[in-house]
């Protein structure tokens, strides 16, 4: 549909203060820059399951899978009118070679890319060290920057890029204040002939935390919120049902990560009992107002990757994700857990006490409540557990080092491919690096499976690998999947329309992701 041009979109950003820094490479104000001033090469639209080509027209792996060729659109220009061509792309790709901090896609650092070659004015070939079939997932995280600006910049991290020259729909900085930045239409946008973008400007407003977003939404001060809002139906929607709406599509999977090195979590029976002891739908309902989706299986992928799952496997393990306290109790009893000292709580088979803590950073209010309710359910089957609110840094080190009893945390299930989640769960190279591999069950065998996935492109073998990992997860339960979180998305159609909705789900509206943000923005128009 064609819409008239004009209008401004106001969006909130959680920040301390705004500053004049539009450098996509240092990420100081990434949310202002990515997808707005700078376009990605292409975007994976997970909801539609397709690729939206942006600056690139196409990409293609070589037959030997040892290189990828990226073809840019013709007649691309920078916002200052200069031509955007393969030189810029090659320059941008090469930035990561010298300085790992500029390696936004991370493909130099992990040794994938060997070198970058310009083929012609619009094409660039990226050569690999080894066979690889997954580079295209990561390249959208890399921003193409104008060589004519950045090549003369000495320290590309400290550079503030005060007069940004970009490729995206809005590039012209109209005003920078500590609490508002306004950026407007790119006069040389490559889609200008299609009348895009419809909106003239975006105003970014600074808010210091979530609690200030709700009143701003209610009083129509902002058009697009991406924040947790408590009891949204009773607050935001109720304050003006005609124009206030929200859509919370599923996001990443949240798990209770168990430390399988310690009793009682070292016992698979205990882990299974744990999983069956909690009533996922009720937890989601009470603690999170029903916004997330309760997980119905335990294979570790979540709603976002439903397409990658196997129905049979899901069915086989569904009972582990179903609330069944009787079964839990039975299982525990069989495994030798008894209340020896008569305090009303079960002890380990060896007689030692069970009393563990589920760790969660203070301040994550909705998930804190989930954990609290989880402990109540555990209490019902005679297991003593408590919620432990910790400081973020303590959480970080416990999660990485695997020194926790239990932590509640997200997973890497919101990435393009399902295999990424398993890499984070099980690849030995990730242990100690990230939060999801501290459960103690990562192994070389599982790591090899994950690695194999990345060098093949046979869909059948790929599915086999996924199935194997899913079964391993469900059989061993190193973590207990609880729910797929929601994508926080509130819209206000008082001034601007065209937002994705449940009825018209053209993209998963993640504001903090440059790609999806761009797709939504392109669809917005003033009323």
């Amino acid at each position: 549909a064609q819409h008239k041009q004009g209008g401004t979109l106001t969006v909130p950003l959680i920040a301390t203060t705004f500053i004049e820094d539009f450098n996509p490479l240092n990420g100081v104000q990434a949310d202002m820059v990515s997808g707005t001033m700078y376009e990605p090469l292409w975007i994976y639209n997970t909801i539609k399951g397709d690729i939206d080509y942006r600056l690139a027209e196409s990409f293609e792996y070589a037959d030997d899978k040892k290189s990828i060729t990226i073809k840019l659109r013709d007649n691309l220009t920078w916002s200052d009118g200069q031509v955007l061509d393969a030189d810029d792309l090659a320059f941008s790709l090469n930035l990561g070679k010298e300085d790992p901090k500029l390696d936004l896609a991370g493909q130099w650092a992990n040794g994938v890319i060997k070198n970058v070659e310009k083929i012609n004015n619009t094409s660039v070939r990226v050569n690999f060290n080894d066979v690889n079939t997954t580079v295209d997932w990561y390249l959208p995280a890399m921003w193409v920057v104008p060589q004519h600006v950045f090549s003369s910049v000495k320290d590309k991290i400290l550079f503030t890029n005060p007069n940004p020259v970009g490729s995206g729909p809005i590039t012209e900085v109209k005003s920078v204040k500590t609490n508002q930045v306004e950026i407007c239409r790119n006069p040389n946008y490559y889609k200008a002939d299609q009348g895009l973008p419809y909106l003239d400007c975006i105003k970014f407003r600074q808010y210091s935390d979530n609690s200030q977003i709700l009143p701003a939404l209610m009083n129509d001060e902002i058009d697009w919120g991406s924040n947790f809002v408590a009891d949204i139906d009773k607050t935001y929607v109720k304050s003006n049902p005609d124009t206030h709406g929200y859509w919370y599509p599923a996001n990443d999977l949240w798990n209770m990560y168990l430390n399988t090195r310690k009793a009682p979590f070292s016992d698979i029976n205990f882990r299974k009992a744990f999983s069956m002891a909690i009533d996922r739908p009720t937890i989601v309902d009470l603690a999170a107002y029903g916004y997330p989706t309760a997980e119905e299986t335990v294979v570790g992928l979540g709603q976002l990757h439903a397409a990658s799952m196997d129905k049979k496997i899901n069915k086989k393990y569904a009972k582990l994700a179903t609330y069944d306290p009787k079964e839990s109790t039975k299982l525990l009893k069989k495994a030798g857990y008894k209340d020896v000292d008569g305090d009303g709580y079960l002890e380990n088979p060896d007689g030692s006490k069970i009393d563990f803590e589920i760790m969660i950073p203070a301040g994550w209010t909705d998930v804190v409540q989930m954990v609290q309710i989880t402990t109540e359910y555990l209490d019902e089957i005679g297991i003593k557990a408590s919620t432990k609110l910790v400081d973020w840094s303590a959480y970080d080190s416990a999660a990485k080092d695997g020194t926790y009893d239990v932590i509640f945390n997200w997973s890497a299930t919101n990435q393009v491919a399902a295999i990424n989640a398993y890499r984070e769960y099980y690849h030995p190279a990730r242990v100690g690096q990230i939060w999801h591999a501290g459960h103690g069950m990562a192994s070389d065998e599982l790591g090899a499976l994950v690695d194999e996935y990345g060098v093949i492109d046979d869909p059948k073998r790929r599915q086999e690998i996924l199935n194997e990992l899913m079964i391993f997860t469900a059989e061993n339960l190193p973590f207990i999947p609880v729910m797929s979180n929601a994508t926080w998305f509130q819209y206000n159609t008082t001034r601007v329309e065209g937002f994705p909705t449940e009825e018209n789900p053209y993209v998963r509206p993640v504001f903090y992701d440059g790609g999806t943000k761009l797709i939504v923005f392109e669809n917005l128009y003033a009323k």
Partner: protein
């Protein structure tokens, strides 16, 4: 002169203690402070930047005193460096954006409450035992004893969210041009009303009581009776003889009150989304942004000390007994 020098010396010591406090704290933290320190910085920093940072915070190799000297040097040369949470933004820039608003709000609130409080206190003491005297100060004190978190949220919810009389946040309307133009000034005023009311409400009672009690004490002094016997008018006695003496305890109380004003500021900025130092300290603390946190803390200390010093000077002007 001696008095001023002594006070200045003392403030130097106080700053020194604050700086040392900053130095010691990260070292008291469990675990490896350097690691924890740079979580927030992610992978954005180069090795060189990281070591420059460490040096700035005194985390250099060598014995503690070497670290301490290094740290002192960077503080004394005002080498505040970049923030971690907004890396590579300079700490100075962030402070620049926030400090003026805090000074504006705290200053205005302090002055308003001191002036208004003293006037109410004066009036109450003048009408000793009257209805006003018996109820006004006590009610104000009652109000002031309600934690600011409660009053601020109530005021915000009622006047900003529900009635929409006042804006939801910011120090001015973000759409206006910053400068000495009337719409902007008006907007600044409009945005300051609710935070100001909250702050003043919580500080007022202190001054009312300080002033009233000082006045009541002084009105019993012989020199007041003498002034009365001299046939001076009541007004002159109150303003010239009594109030001038009663102001002294008020000035003394300033040092105490300033600390509290800063405390109020944190909550008020948080609730009313007012862009000041108070928010900054909370944010930097939760993000473990050491450079920013330390700079903020030092800055607050510095401001409080300067205000204290001004109070000292005021005292010196008002009380001839201190001049030598």
């Amino acid at each position: 002169m001696g008095f001023i020098l002594r006070r200045l010396g003392f403030y130097l010591v106080a700053i020194f203690v604050a700086i040392t406090f900053n130095f010691v704290l990260p070292r008291l933290m469990p675990g490896d402070p350097v690691d924890a320190l740079f979580i927030a910085a992610g992978g954005k920093m180069s090795i060189e930047q990281l070591s420059a940072f460490k040096e700035m915070l005194g985390f250099v190799d060598g014995p503690l005193w070497v670290q301490y000297l290094q740290y002192l040097k960077s503080v004394l040369t005002l080498d505040l460096g970049p923030t971690i949470m907004l890396f590579p933004t300079e700490v100075k820039l962030v402070l620049n954006n926030t400090l003026p608003w805090t000074l504006f709000l705290v200053g205005l609130a302090s002055i308003t409450s001191i002036v208004a409080g003293c006037m109410i206190g004066l009036y109450a003491s003048y009408n000793r035992g009257g209805l006003f005297d018996r109820f006004m100060p006590v009610s104000l004190q009652f109000l002031a004893s309600i934690p600011q978190a409660v009053t601020a949220l109530f005021i915000f919810f009622i006047f900003a969210v529900t009635l929409k009389w006042f804006p939801l946040g910011f120090a001015s309307n973000p759409d206006l041009d910053v400068g000495w133009n009337w719409p902007f000034i008006k907007s600044v005023g409009h945005h300051a009303v609710l935070p100001l009311v909250t702050l003043v409400g919580s500080m007022l009672a202190t001054w009312v009581f300080t002033m009233r009690n000082a006045m009541v004490n002084i009105l019993g002094e012989d020199y007041i009776t003498m002034a009365k016997a001299k046939g001076l008018s009541d007004r002159r006695i109150m303003t010239h003889y009594a109030a001038r003496n009663a102001i002294l305890p008020v000035v003394t109380a300033i040092s105490m009150a300033l600390g509290l004003a800063v405390a109020g500021q944190v909550i008020v900025e948080q609730v009313f989304n007012y862009p000041g130092i108070g928010q900054l300290i909370i944010k930097s603390v939760s993000a473990r942004d050491y450079p920013l946190m330390q700079a903020t803390f030092l800055l607050i200390v510095l401001c409080v000390l300067i205000a204290n010093f001004i109070a000292d000077l005021l005292y010196l002007i008002l009380d001839p007994r201190l001049r030598k």
